[in-house]
Symmetry: C2
Subunit: 244 residues, 2 copies
C-alpha cells in the first residue's frame, strides 16, 4: 500500500508521501511517490501517487515524455492548475485504456494521484485525481487530501488541522499523521518524502527524504508517544456509572 497526504493551506502546500510498494509480503521495495516538476519563477507542480506502480510510472512516464519531446499539451505549457489536473486525468485514462477497454477490468490497474502546485498569475491549487481520471479540488473547508492507507492518520488531521495553520505546525501535524500510520500498518514504510511549498514563491522545493535515522522525525515520534501517554493519564477518572 501507500500513504500520501497533501495540505493546501493559506501559506502554502505541505506534501508527504511514503515510499513502500509491495506485491505480497515478500516483495517489498522502495519507490518514490512524490514527484516535482516546474520552472523556477513561473510554475511549480507536484504529483503524489498511490495504487498500481506500473500505472503510476506510466502516467509519470507519459507526462515526462511529452516534456522531453515538446509534445503539447504538456505540464509546462498548460495555462492553469485546472488544466494540469485535466492533463493528468486524461493521461491516466489513456494508460488504463492501453491495458484494456473494459472499464471494470481497468480498476485492477487503477491508481489515485494528488496534484498540487501553482502557476504564475494563478491561485495555488490541490486536486485529487480519482482512478477514473475525474477529480476534485481542495477548499478552505476541506484543505487536505489523503490517498492510500488514509484512515490511521486521519484523526489527528481532523482534530488539529485548519486552513490558516502556519506551515511549520502543519508539517508537524502531517508528520504525526504519518507516524501513527507507520506504527499501525506495515504496508506503509519509511523513508518518507516531505516537501513544503510557499505560496507565490514559485521556487521548486528540494524536499527532504526522512529515513529511519532522521533525528528530528525520531525525536517527535518519541515525544508524541509521551504526549499521548501523559494526556491519557491527565484525563479525569471515569465517573462511577462507568462501573469502575
Amino acid at each position: 500500500m501507500t500513504y500520501c497526504c497533501a495540505l493546501r493551506l493559506e501559506q502554502g502546500l505541505v506534501l508527504i508521501s511514503d515510499t513502500r510498494t509491495n506485491a505480497g509480503v515478500d516483495h517489498i521495495s522502495v519507490f518514490r511517490k512524490l514527484h516535482t516538476f516546474g520552472t523556477e519563477g513561473e510554475r511549480f507542480i507536484a504529483l503524489q501517487t498511490a495504487g498500481n506502480l506500473a500505472t503510476t510510472q506510466a502516467v509519470l512516464g507519459h507526462l515526462q515524455n511529452s516534456l522531453t519531446l515538446h509534445q503539447e499539451p504538456n505540464l509546462y505549457t498548460v495555462n492553469t492548475m485546472f488544466e494540469v489536473a485535466e492533463l493528468v486525468g486524461k493521461t491516466l485514462r489513456r494508460v488504463l485504456e492501453d491495458i484494456t477497454s473494459n472499464t471494470q477490468e481497468q480498476m485492477n490497474y487503477s491508481c489515485s494521484i494528488l496534484v498540487g502546485g501553482q502557476i504564475k498569475g494563478e491561485e495555488m491549487q490541490l486536486y485529487n485525481v480519482y482512478p477514473q481520471g475525474n477529480f476534485i479540488c481542495a477548499t478552505t473547508d476541506t484543505p487536505y487530501f489523503q490517498i492510500g492507507e488514509s484512515k490511521y492518520g486521519k484523526p489527528i488531521l481532523d482534530r488539529a488541522l485548519h486552513y490558516t495553520m502556519p506551515l511549520d505546525d502543519a508539517l508537524r501535524c502531517s508528520l504525526i499523521s504519518f507516524d501513527s500510520t507507520l506504527r499501525s500498518n506495515v504496508s506503509v514504510g519509511l523513508p518518507l518524502d516531505a516537501l513544503v511549498y510557499y505560496k507565490d514563491s514559485f521556487v521548486i522545493p528540494e524536499g527532504k527524504r526522512i529515513s529511519e535515522e532522521d533525528p528530528y522525525f525520531t525525536q517527535i515520534s518519541k515525544q508524541w508517544s509521551e504526549t499521548l501517554r501523559r494526556g491519557l493519564q491527565e484525563l479525569p477518572k471515569p465517573t462511577a456509572d462507568y462501573g469502575l
Copy 2:
C-alpha cells in the same frame, strides 16, 4: 458500519461498541451490538457484533433460543470459553448455511463477533470469531481485538495500551479510540455501550450507555483535542533541512 473494541488485560475486560447501523446513508438506526449473558458467581459471557444485522441478530437469536428451550449445547452449559467460541462460530456457520450453501455468496451476509468472558475455574478469555466461524484468541502480546471500522482508533491503542494497564486507564484509552473514530467516520455513531468486567469477579456488569450528552465522555473528548493541539505545539520546530 460499526466499531467494536475489546481488551483482555491482566485485571479484566474492557468492551465498547457503537450502535449505528446503516443500509445506505438515508437508512440509519440504533441497534445494540454489545450483549451479555451469564450467571452471577459462575460465568460471564459478552458478545460484540459487526456486519450484517440480520445475521448477527440470527446468531444471538439462536443462542438465546437454546437457553430458553434448554437445548444443548448452550451458553450456560458449555464448560470453557473455548467451547463458547466454538458454539458461536458453529451458530454463525449454521445461520449462513440457512441462507445459501454457496460459501462465496455467504460472505454477502457475513459478520464478525468478539466473544469475551470467564467461566468459574477457568481463565478469562477473549476470542475474535471470523465470518467463516473460525477464531483466534487474545494473548498478553496482543491483548485487544477490533472489528468493523478499526483503523481510525488503532494508533492510540498501538501506542498506549499494554496488558498490565489498569482498567480505568484502559477504559480511557478505548474511549479516546472511539472518539477518534466517531470524529473521522460518520458510519460509526453514538450512543456507545461500554462495559468493564473484573477478572474472577463473576459479576455480570450492567454496563453504561454513553449518549451525546454524557458529561464524562464530552469532557474527555474536549480535553483530548486540547491535549493533541498542545502536544503538537510542544513538538520541536522542524530542522532547517525540512525546507522551512
